[in-house]
Every structure is written in structure tokens, then in C-alpha cells.
Symmetry: C2
Subunit: 363 residues, 2 copies
């Protein structure tokens, strides 16, 4: 590579999962910031908030109330983006009309759930214990199995379960109470089906799973590894877009969350605790992000199981401090995503951070 | 379509430009909002701000100062994401290694420019006159021609000019002074090359340009048209993601901004004024957005000219008021984009709004 310096010179990296490119401009981290600042997280939050829709025993937005739950608690989203019951759209696209050429549409049924991670209003994943986090993983497994069963036995329109968490006001989260969501659709969403396409293409070319090769390569190069244990690898992917984006990949083939055995479950809980502790310690703030799980569709065929490999993506927006975030706007939306530090630089900072003691413990 | 109601039932629509799907959940606009609120725009901004890096005569962030410019003014970005001079990366990818399978990288040279729309610190596009906006279009044309010439005559690494504007703090804009940017790269960015791919595919199937058919179809259906004049159509695309997203399409084939004749130039200026006036009038605020121009590469071959069709995308985040935006986060990033009102509903609201008198004139 001659005198090309990856920490100084602009380059593009290819994302083989989404089949797209991102622009890396490492010298750009130096520019001054005059734009919007996020508010740093509030210090004194009570363990129970009588006005919170998610706290145990409280009334919810649309009437109804929460039980006095004591660990992870799942309920149906009061403002679900998809519903189990609605008419099915039957479109006849056979004729060659402009409309049939250009407008493709499908009806979508499903259901949406909210997953309260804890009854305590003032905790977040890094502040929960490994046993408590193991219960969260268990709740995800339970939901996956439960919805798969309902699809099989009650013909519910459930094909893919997208588990995710939006954390922090910067990521549009409308309630501080520690919670994630799970949207279950009768179709596989775009991002996931694009990954499946890429896995199939890679398998056809190299007769192995893309993520099998990827885990091997990251283990060899080490420079993008943030944390690892027996079951999972946490890396800043070579093609990361968000400044401190990470990917949690199971080291061996696991197709879905329900397949995790007890050891793997606990290892995932440890990953969640360690990674989010590092994130909070980076800028000494409650670190915002969107994260989610990619896995096999419900009631997957053998072919679908073969192409699925459990992994999580964390997309955190903060760039330089608790209040300065990266905006993926103008050039990013119209041209291509752009980042200001390399994946290796981000990984090094996260790797070196304490992943055990949360910064608030030292205050 | 039976009893399927597009204004109530969830559905997915396909975007043939980017080959992806978006989820529409029109009943969802009803949920309450407890999350982050944007600050509404400040009322009293001076025409000249001595601390602004972009005002005429002022010093810039990295030293140097602006001339006493009197209309549109273009200068090189002090914190360019790409540079003209840097080593070229020469990679040998011939061997079948894991790295060559999974990590693709290219060096990227180019240049970045800032375009001050006006010397006045306190105006925005809707507050400028049609002749002033015509000068902005002229400045874009000048830059396009100038960079194409430098690429031809001085072998500069310029292949694609991405013109865009980030407006408002919600879209990461770090300076109130009315300005856009233009990033010129030696490669065609992802979003644009994806569109070109789609245009080629459509042409192969139907022997016509996708946007030729699309303009025809929108003219027939009318329900998504926001505004039109002799040269341009403004629509909320059938597959819009952002709540009030619009696309400005030239009615007949124009490959790049430089090809616009005087009449078309003025018509584009009128579109800019009318559309941004409608946007500001929607929630009576200075409406944030990212917008940009998609067009032919510089010094395009005949094939590249054939597949290019000038259009602009406007991506505005506001959803319900001056302070409540749509967040494209969790499900959107991990699964697929989701919107809360239909394209037709958004178009109807924008169409009915006054596009001539800015709301501040009535205050
Ligand atoms: O160039 P600016 O205005 O400083 O920065 C803004 O626009 C750029 C181009 O879309 C983005 O990369 C930045 O994240 C954003 O904050
Ligand atoms: O469901 P919430 O938390 O009210 O809403 C948040 O997450 C959703 C799923 O990612 C997004 O569609 C919304 O834009 C966001 O504000």
C-alpha cells in the first residue's frame, strides 16, 4: 500500500453484508463543532416514577395497567406499527401498466411488543447484573419461541422477529425506562433480506458462510476486536458507518436467539454488560444507540437456517463527547455514508476502556 | 383491493430507485410523543453576524477571510472530507485470501466546496427572490462546468459532483448562514450508482427511462403532486421514507444541472422558492431538511448521459410540528424504514399550503 496512510488518507470501504460502500475521512475529526449539542444525561432519576407508562403497577397511555412485575416484562405495544388483523391486499400485477411497472405494494400484518428490561426505572443494561441480563436474553428467547408456535399452531402472520432497542433521546427513545422492542412481521424486512442475499452469494462463491470467514479474519487481525469470550466476538466492523458502531457475532454457527444454550446465554449477557459499560465509560454518559438482533426467520426451513447466523448490530451516534454526535445527513443520505475515524481507531479506544466498572461507581 | 384501506392498514411500498422497501403504518400517527423535542427556530437573527465564518468580510475557522461578496459565493471547504492530493492506494486482490474476499477498499481523492447562497446571514431559500435563487442555480452550473473542465484539462480526480444542503440543527447543520455544499469525488457515490443500476435495469426491461415513465404516471394519478411548472414536477414519491419527503424531477430529459437553459433555470428557482415556502408554512417554522441533486457524472460518456436524469431529493425530518421529528432509528436501521402517514396524505397537505407568501410575512 506504499505511502498510503489509512489513519490520514480518505478511502472507501465495502460492506459485504449490505452490498454498499462507505467513505472514511480520518483527517476530518479535527474540524470544530458549532452545531446542535445533545443534552448530557440527567443524573438523578428515581427507581420508580409514578408518571412512567412502563413502571410496575402504573397506568399505560391507552388505558390498562402494568402488573407488579419483578424482572423482564413483555407486553403488546399500544401503538403497534403492524397488526395481526387487517385485510390482505390482493393485487393483480399481470398487466404491463405504468403502475404495475413502478408501484409495488404488499400488505403487512404482524404484532409489536415492548420488553421492559427491569422494573427499576433508573437502570440501563450496563447497570444490571449478569443474572438479570441473562433473564433479558431468556425473555427474547421466550418471545421467539412463543411467536413461532403461534404462527405454526394458530396461523398467525408471523415470519420474522426484529428485536431492537432505541436508547437515549438522540435515538428517538420516548421513555427513559429501560426497555427494548420487538416487531414481528409476516415478511422479512429489507435489511435482513439483503444480508441473506449476501450470505447466499458468498456461499455460492466460497462454499462457506460469510460470517464464518469474517470471524476467522477478525480473530487473525485482532485490530478491530473490542471484546471476546467463548461464545461471542465484539468487533468494530471493517465497514462500520456509525463512529463507534459494533457488531456482536456468535463465534460458531447459531441460527437464532432461541438456539443459545445456557453457557451461550450467559456469555451474551456478559457481552451486553461489558460492551454497554465500555460505551458509557467512553464519554462518561449514558451512551445512546440503536441496537438489534439479526437471526433466522421464525419456523425457518433448512435453507433459511443454513443461511442465518446470529449477530447483533449496535449503532451509536456519539462522535466526540457526550454532547457531540455524528449526523448522517446531506452527503450521507444523497451520496454515501461518511465517517471521521477509522474502524481500527474506534476499536482501539473501546478495547482499552474499562468494561467492568461503570464510571458512575467512581463518582 | 377490496376493503384494504391505504390510509389505515399497514403496507410496504417498493422503491425502484434504490431497490428497497419501506413500511407504511398510517394509523400510527396517533401515538403520543414524549421524546426529544427540537428547538423551534430563533426569531431575531441579524443580517450580518460578526462571529459567523460565512458572512462577507469575516475570518474563517482556519484563517483566511471571505471577500465582501454580494451574491452567491463558493469557496473550498476548510475541512474537506476528500482532498485532491493524496497517495493512490494500489491493492493487489488477485490471491484468494480471507482479506481479499471480505475487505474491499479504494482510495478516494476529490475536493469539497461551500456555497454561500446569499451574503445575508438571516435569509433562507424561501426568503430569497427568484432572481437571487436563479443565481444559486447558476452557481451550481458554474461549479459543475468548472470542475468538469479541471478534470479534463488538469487531470484533476473529479468524477461526480454531489451538490447538497443540510438545513437546520436537526440535520447537523453547524452554521445558520444560508449555505449548501458540493463534494466532488473521483468515484460515483453508492446512492447514485444504485440509482444508475436501477435505471439500466428498467431500461433493459421496458426500453425507456424509469423517470420518464414515473413522471408520466405521477401526472396521470395527480395524488402525489405538490407543485409543477413547465420544466419540473414536485412529488411526494410513492415510496417516500421521510414524512414530507419530496422529489423534484425535470419533466423532460436533462442529464445534469449545466444543461438547464434559461427558462429551466428560472423554473428551478421557482420550484426552490415555492417548495421551501410550503415547507416553512407547514409548521410555521424554518423547516429543516437535507436536499441534494442527482445528475450525470462530470465529463460523462454517451452511455452515462443516457442513463442520467436530473432530479433533486428533499429529506425533511419533521413529522407533526416544529418540534416533533421522525427518528429513523431501531426498526428503521435494523429492519426497514417505516413511516406514519401515506405519501398521498403528505402530498395533499403540502399541495394545499400557500407556496407564495411566507408565514413570517403575516406575523
Ligand atoms: O460539513 P458540516 O456541515 O460541518 O457537517 C454536516 O454535513 C456533513 C455532510 O453531510 C456530515 O458528514 C456531517 O456529519 C454533518 O454534521
Ligand atoms: O416506538 P417508539 O419508541 O415510540 O418510537 C421510536 O422507535 C420506532 C422504531 O424504531 C421509530 O419508528 C420511531 O420513529 C422512534 O421514535
Amino acid at each position: 500500500t506504499g505511502d498510503f496512510d489509512f489513519t490520514d488518507h480518505s478511502h472507501r470501504r465495502y460492506n459485504p453484508l449490505t452490498d454498499s460502500w462507505i467513505l472514511v475521512s480520518p483527517h476530518r475529526a479535527k474540524r470544530p463543532w458549532l452545531g446542535q449539542q445533545e443534552t448530557a444525561s440527567k443524573p438523578d432519576i428515581p427507581e420508580y416514577d409514578p408518571k412512567c407508562f412502563l413502571c410496575p403497577g402504573n397506568h399505560r397511555a391507552t388505558g390498562g395497567s402494568n402488573p407488579q412485575y419483578e424482572s423482564t416484562y413483555i407486553f403488546q405495544n399500544d401503538y403497534a406499527a403492524v397488526k395481526e388483523e387487517q385485510p390482505v391486499l390482493k393485487a393483480d400485477n399481470s398487466e404491463d401498466t405504468l403502475r404495475n411497472r413502478l408501484f409495488h405494494v404488499q400488505s403487512v400484518r404482524g404484532n409489536c411488543f415492548v420488553i421492559c428490561f427491569s422494573p427499576k426505572h433508573n437502570v440501563t443494561l450496563p447497570l444490571m447484573s449478569v443474572p438479570e441480563l441473562t433473564e433479558v436474553v431468556g425473555a427474547w428467547q421466550g418471545l421467539y419461541n412463543d411467536l413461532a408456535k403461534k404462527a405454526r399452531e394458530e396461523a398467525k402472520p408471523f415470519k420474522y422477529l426484529q428485536i431492537f432497542e432505541n436508547k437515549g433521546t438522540a435515538m428517538g427513545c420516548s421513555n427513559l425506562h429501560p426497555h427494548g422492542q420487538a416487531w414481528c412481521l409476516e415478511t422479512v424486512p429489507s435489511e435482513v433480506s439483503q444480508e441473506f442475499k449476501s450470505f447466499d452469494k458468498y456461499h455460492a462463491a466460497h462454499n462457506t458462510h460469510l460470517l464464518a470467514d469474517y470471524v476467522k479474519l477478525e480473530m487473525e487481525e485482532k485490530s478491530r476486536i473490542v471484546f471476546e469470550n467463548d461464545s461471542f466476538l465484539v468487533v468494530v466492523p471493517y465497514w462500520a458507518v456509525w463512529p463507534f458502531e459494533t457488531m456482536v457475532v456468535s463465534r460458531t454457527k447459531v441460527a437464532n436467539i432461541a438456539q443459545l444454550d445456557d453457557k451461550q446465554k450467559k456469555d451474551l449477557a456478559i457481552v451486553l454488560k461489558t460492551l454497554t459499560t465500555k460505551y458509557d465509560n467512553l464519554f462518561e454518559t449514558s451512551f445512546p444507540y440503536s441496537m438489534g438482533i439479526h437471526q433466522a426467520p421464525l419456523n425457518a426451513t433448512q435453507e433459511e437456517l443454513d443461511r442465518s447466523w446470529l449477530h447483533l448490530h449496535f449503532y451509536p451516534p456519539l462522535l466526540r463527547s457526550a454532547t457531540v454526535r455524528k449526523f448522517l445527513v446531506g452527503f450521507e443520505l444523497l451520496g454515501e455514508p461518511q465517517r471521521d475515524l477509522t474502524a481500527e481507531q474506534a476499536a482501539e479506544r473501546l478495547r482499552k476502556l474499562d468494561g467492568e466498572t461503570h464510571y458512575t461507581k467512581n463518582l
